[in-house]
Symmetry: C2
């Protein structure tokens, strides 16, 4: 015997969540039904509301229920800085450091010709016109340090080769608090090549 | 800045799932919104439907959308065997072994005076009357091998001391495929005490 059909449905539906396999989905379903039915209803409502109302910011393409997100519409942000990211999660990560006060542009992906993801899918036209026609003084390329992330940054920098905007790439190097012994060779090579003089 | 309010709602709601912390909830929410909105709606529907329609089987107390679950209503099961379990998950686990063909009774918990869980909350009256008035020949006590699980089994056996039904407890011992070296002392002691003669 399997679960009752409705319970099996719920278990299957929970498996759409990243990192949730059959056993965890089963545990989640039983937990919700046995101990926390009101939380299940709350979750159901939050899902529908988020899916129906959250779209993307027309300025930076991050997830937002308003046409222009809180950061893009804030008067307090430095409009001369524009940080290009692959995903809204990266934006949250940078915001949580509290060390950046500029604007963002979220590509929602990276160039990946093999998956059919080209510059159009990433809104790169929009990014370029923002840089060319806007008040951006420095474009900070903060795509992930992967092959595709690097290629995406390189492509964007290339497209702006004729435009006199300052373009930078976030630093690659040894993570703070890490030990050299455990850092991979590529990172160490970057850390050495990108060394900064102390005096 | 935090997430937009609706996104934050969704992240908070996802944290009701067991084993989901703030980072996983964030990853789940962004995954659903960025990549799989239809799955989010399916999940939302499955949650509501499960909460609204799944109740408990009037016979064995397991989770079921029918008044009597599939197992209790099956003609193919041996009505002389009744296995007492703490939770519907345990029932699934035993069903998945394929080695048991009797009926079940799900306590949905264990005796725990400290949390105010007594025999009433576990439906033990119902279990006893099923055993005394029904066709049960053997009652298999399969509560978890924890202090409370043992106490629950002991309590049930005690209540039936005047009734001539066969009562058994699942075996405790060394897990199949395990190595003695890594088995804890309590389990080893049980394994020795419960040894079976080979000839």
């Amino acid at each position: 015997m399997a679960f009752s059909p409705l319970l099996q449905n719920l278990v299957d539906a929970l498996r759409c969540l990243p990192g949730v396999g059959p056993k965890s989905a089963q545990r989640m379903a039983l937990h919700l039904l046995e101990r926390d039915r009101s939380a299940a209803l709350t979750l159901s409502g939050a899902l529908v509301e988020a899916v129906e109302k959250i779209g993307e910011c027309t300025e930076c393409r991050t997830l937002s229920e308003d046409p222009v997100c809180e950061i893009c519409s804030s008067e307090a942000r430095d409009r001369g800085l524009l940080c290009v990211l692959e995903s809204p999660v990266d934006m949250m990560a940078i915001e949580q450091t509290g060390g950046y006060n500029g604007l963002y542009f979220v590509l929602k992906g990276r160039l990946s010709p093999i998956d059919g993801i080209g510059p159009d899918a990433l809104g790169i036209d929009k990014l370029l016109s923002k840089v060319i026609n806007g008040s951006v003084e420095e474009l900070i390329l903060a795509t992930n340090p992967t092959v595709e992330g690097e290629a995406t940054s390189h492509y964007i920098a290339e497209q702006l080769s004729d435009h006199p905007v300052k373009i930078s790439r976030i630093a690659h190097g040894v993570p703070v608090g890490g030990e050299l012994e455990y850092v991979d060779g590529g990172t160490l090579a970057h850390a050495l090549a990108g060394r900064r003089s102390l005096r």
